[in-house]
Symmetry: D2
Subunit: 403 residues, 4 copies
């Protein structure tokens, strides 16, 4: 008799695609509903950023090469109109790479929420992981539990959906052709990569039409970013609409942690690592649940920071033009962030440290009110438990050194 019987290891499935998302990319593997499988992911830049103290790699990131995704993986039996249920069983860094980074990108290369206000120059914080906690030699005095999650996850779009995206985004780009940073990114053959030997014609079609993976999109396609689902951590369940046979699930851009808003563009703690999935199918789920975009059931094991300081912002840009905006929630979010940054500077952090910290730590941002004209209101909640110098539980009570 042996306790080691009855078990087989979970298979690891991985192929990297870059920069594009298309129904024409064939699946690299097929799984059965109920099967557990793992996917390895490089970081979103494809290893362009190193564990060191220079920001040059951030400055020079080649953005035509992002995002790196792994997949797609087909699920047996999934058909257009179904709902693909995806259980996220685990999200971890590679064991040999217990670190990640948060970056502020240059105004001219990537930008970020305050690219223009701050005339952003490249800046980087390296985070070291010890179990669930992250600390940074570049932002002293903080330590927090990460809620590791995929920045991008989604099923493949249909050809019709992809055409819709390219049309409407193309119109926006056309209307703002001089914008720095650009307002959106069209399909870009340069850097397009699907990790497979494909027929030249198919490859050219993908490169030409495949949507860029920068934004999330409404129908949860292949490149749909759930960068905005901060707490999509292990134990979570996702419900995706299926647009193509097999669903063709892709994933990438793993984060160790992220603040609501991911404000510095490369705002999460970016990492390379492994995600473990199991799937099932709800036939006809799109109709059954009015599934226009993915729906999520968060994990019961999110970190709990009960003490928070809440900052607010309204849609008036006092930091620059003094102008009144009309119910602009983005302006309100920026204001809340600027108020929090000003406060963190009072605690001794530089503006860049504050900006990086708010991007990376488990900060919550709520839409307060969007109906009291003309001011939309947004709050940003800073958990006090992330600060070592406030974690007196370990200082007043147990003043031993943290290793």
């Amino acid at each position: 008799m042996s306790t080691r019987e009855n078990s087989v290891p979970w298979p690891t499935l991985v192929k990297v695609t870059k920069n594009c998302c298309s129904p024409d990319i064939p699946p690299v593997a097929t799984v059965k509903p109920g099967q557990v499988f793992k996917i390895e992911c490089v970081d979103w830049t494809g290893a362009q950023v190193g564990n060191n103290d220079s920001s040059d790699d951030i400055k020079n990131v080649d953005l035509t090469k992002i995002h790196n995704l792994s997949g797609p993986v087909a699920v047996e039996g999934a058909e257009p109109g179904d709902c693909l249920v995806v259980d996220i069983l685990d999200v971890t860094p590679f064991e040999k790479m217990p670190w990640g980074y948060t970056g502020i990108f240059e105004l001219e290369n990537g930008g970020g929420l305050f690219a223009q206000e701050f005339q952003s120059r490249a800046c980087k914080a390296i985070w070291d992981f010890k179990g669930v906690y992250a600390t940074s030699r570049h932002i002293p005095g903080v330590r927090f539990a990460g809620v590791s999650h995929p920045g991008l996850i989604g099923t493949a779009p249909s050809a019709e959906l992809l055409a819709t995206w390219n049309k409407r985004e193309g119109e926006l780009i056309a209307a703002h052709s001089d914008s720095v940073p650009p307002v959106a990114f069209p399909p870009e053959p340069k850097g397009a990569y699907v990790g497979q030997e494909l027929d030249a014609e198919v490859m050219a079609k993908i490169a030409k039409e495949g949507a860029r993976t920068v934004p999330g999109r409404e129908h949860g396609g292949n490149c749909d970013a759930s960068a905005f689902i901060k707490n999509l951590s292990r134990g979570s369940r996702c419900y995706f609409p299926v647009f193509v046979k097999g669903a063709n699930l892709s994933v990438g851009d793993l984060h160790f942690s992220q603040g609501d808003g991911e404000m510095s563009f490369c705002g999460a703690i970016e990492m390379a690592g492994i995600i473990t999935f199991s799937t099932s199918i709800i036939k006809g789920g799109v109709e059954k649940f009015a599934l226009k975009q993915p729906i999520f059931l968060p994990s019961p094991i999110d970190p709990l920071y009960s003490s928070k300081l809440v900052f607010e912002g309204i849609s008036v840009d006092v930091h620059g033009d003094g102008k009144q905006y009309n119910m602009d929630t983005t302006v309100a979010y920026k204001q809340a962030a600027l108020n929090t940054i000003a406060y963190l500077q009072k605690l001794g952090y530089t503006r860049e440290q504050a900006y990086l910290l708010l991007s990376a730590a488990p900060v919550e941002s709520h839409v307060g009110a969007v109906v009291d004209s003309p001011n939309a209101c947004v709050t940003l909640a800073l958990p006090l438990g992330i600060f070592e110098f406030t974690r007196t539980s370990d200082r007043t009570f147990f003043p031993g050194k943290r290793d």
Copy 2:
């Protein structure tokens, strides 16, 4: 000996002001730091809405009469540049009025987030309170714990600050003079009311210059709306900047509960009731904490709904123009709300019931990502514990009737 000694009742202070907010309104009472006091508040409309099954009162609300505030109350020793610390000790409905309401306003009278999309017609849900719980005969199948809070609370603005508001909002109004509903509301002598006998000249000045109380504003003035601080419930602490001698704290627009966003305009569960305060002063707090707007320390006793279904929205208006918006967080919020409404309709609710429910229940809306051009992303989390038919703890387990 007696256990009834050593105690005096807390004083109740109240004067109603309406529609305007100005440094020229004298305080109706003065309190000492550390003193506990209570303030009675009518509902925000000043009792224009009744506990009945007709929506006519919502349709005909006279908006020149809102908001009704109580105060101002001066705090001894508070001076411009100080931080006024306000502890919210309790927020309750009047014992004889254990009910409140949520309303959808007419497109032409108040509007709301979906005023135009839905061509809004007046609609009302009455909520009955039993202890911490609310139920509605107009929205069956839900029951949830309220996080009662003030919709408006703030210190008085200085003359300079008031002038800034009037200038910038005036410019916005001028630029959108045809908008229905209006983009903002200028000072309005009609309905202005300060609850006190004042010199005619002072009264005229207040009526002419006093800011309308509809929006929150950045510096936490008298009429600053914290409508957007949903969880500002009993046990919370607020830090306000002080602009005038005495700080002149006003409060009103009490809510039994509210969803993030308060989307239907009269979106919270509006109620009349009593709020209990205690205050203290931090000298020079504005400089010390970079206090540009109020900061809040939430209560430790918020309701805990651990199971939630999370919907997302991006800045594409698929429901109407199909257009791509450039990082517009308000559009993303609307999308998330529309997706949730569509889902609730699958459960059997009407569109109006869903709209009212999302406004009133403890729904959370997070700003997901505001950096992945061109799509800003917002999520809306629906707590499943509010549904009676999912609270199987009381059905499968204890299938007795409620109440």
Copy 3:
């Protein structure tokens, strides 16, 4: 039209009974299922303890006069075998008495968990209430949110059940007749009081047979103490077995807050105040749910202290006899408590302050393991957020004085 219509105040029902619990005590009022009603309660001693700085009143408490209960209240339609559902809508101190107390009783008069180890002498801490928070001039440096609850609540026992109690407790008393403090308390005519004019014969029977209200008992009778249901706060629901027609619900011994174990005997923050109820009936509920004792559905609004220091105890009494006990969970609890007290003394508190604090604050005690012979294991979790000097959120961040 008026918003003040459609409402009637909730009735306040109150009669005090003392010291005894019996099916022969007639109800003082009858309510209908669904009706909201309030019950006023004196503190458990009947106002024997005052808001002052002397412990003499604790020393001299007349224990023949406790517990003071209010009721009983009959519920229309409740019959033996039914389940009485009781919703606790609110628990508050009297507004004019915003204070309570925690006491250590004398070894010879009441005792407590460490009566013998500490050779207990009377000691008292007065707590001042401000909203949800309590502070004490006798235990500086702590401030915490209370979870106010009834110490005693229950339905009336049947004659048979009462006879069972008196028999088995009588046997225990007989077997330990010399114990100080006593192991249990038989019916005691002295001090028996039912708050009503009754026939002399009935009164004599009640006084002679009525169970003392000190302990909780298994079938949730009239005097059943739910002193052990710490979080039975507003928003909670209780399911009681019904033993007599009308159920005859009594309540008393209100607590502002209590630690698991209530170790100092008068260990909670004892207060006088008002409890608000609503009831319903599940016919045949005793059989349906195997209802041997009450079952509870806690409130969703318990305070949340996420950071805790956990102490453990095992069933070895190293503090005295050094003896090994056989899986004795009470010894393990005492050990955990003594370890915590030793730790609090390192922080500068006296042994008595620590003892009172652990009794009164929201301390949690878990039964760890009861199967690893010979050591039962118990833990005691001290929430760090109750200490003002660790609430750096208000010191490092906002170092203003607390009033």
Copy 4:
């Protein structure tokens, strides 16, 4: 440049010891403070139980071979009187063994809380792990998130402390020599195993004197069981007293999940797997913190089940002798457990399924009151979210099959 630089894998350290715990067992490895290291652990029985549907292996477990521990590991610089800080960075099953078991042991071989009441016969439930969740083919209808933790963890005892244990436990055994199951277990040469080649004389001394590892003990020695610290999961920090040079940390008996009390003896979900640690030292910590036994700072990422049904028990054994016990918390715990089991049987579970489920699931047991003579009171809280048929979030809302 490479993102794979700057990193080295964490070393895996492992040696198995069995059945005994002694200062004479030399460390198998030495680590530096701050170093991250992993320890592999077999399950507590040393692989005597298999993933199958027969309970024969439970019936025949050779208890002289338990517990299997891994270690000891010495920490450089740790000396008697210091506090060893141990951070638990991760606890996982072996990837190839995603399953565990819970067992009821025979009355004559191991027993358990209800060994005598139930005349226990061997019974086993196998649990399958998918990410953070466990399900069992032997207990249908439940699925819950595990809080994986070590059942045993501790530093080595000094010779003096070991002598104290052997003396006092020997006296208890002598006083109850006929008990079935036994009240405690003396040192037992049979099965003693230290996983190392040692001098014959040293080995004989260890086998003769080394304490059995069944119970937790007060001073956190090598074999100290923290079986009772349910939530000692990844992200937690432990503070152990140091009794020998190097501290000599051992660990074993990993659990995927456990209910408070671990009532069925082999009550947790037992598993084999890997635990990852980092350590630091607080010099003189024993004196500084009155460290009589280990202290713990739980993880911020415990699962959150907000809806619970709470059962109570008092120290009266109505299920057998009907006798009144004097403040016996163990009896009260048993009563609470029996009440819960009776309730679960109403839901369709067998008594054995209920017994296993309460042992394995995240059930909480609180010590309610230990001062209301003669009844100690204990509660047991059953989280409703563990039941699939109540998780209507996935049924009413998303009625797809769970794989």
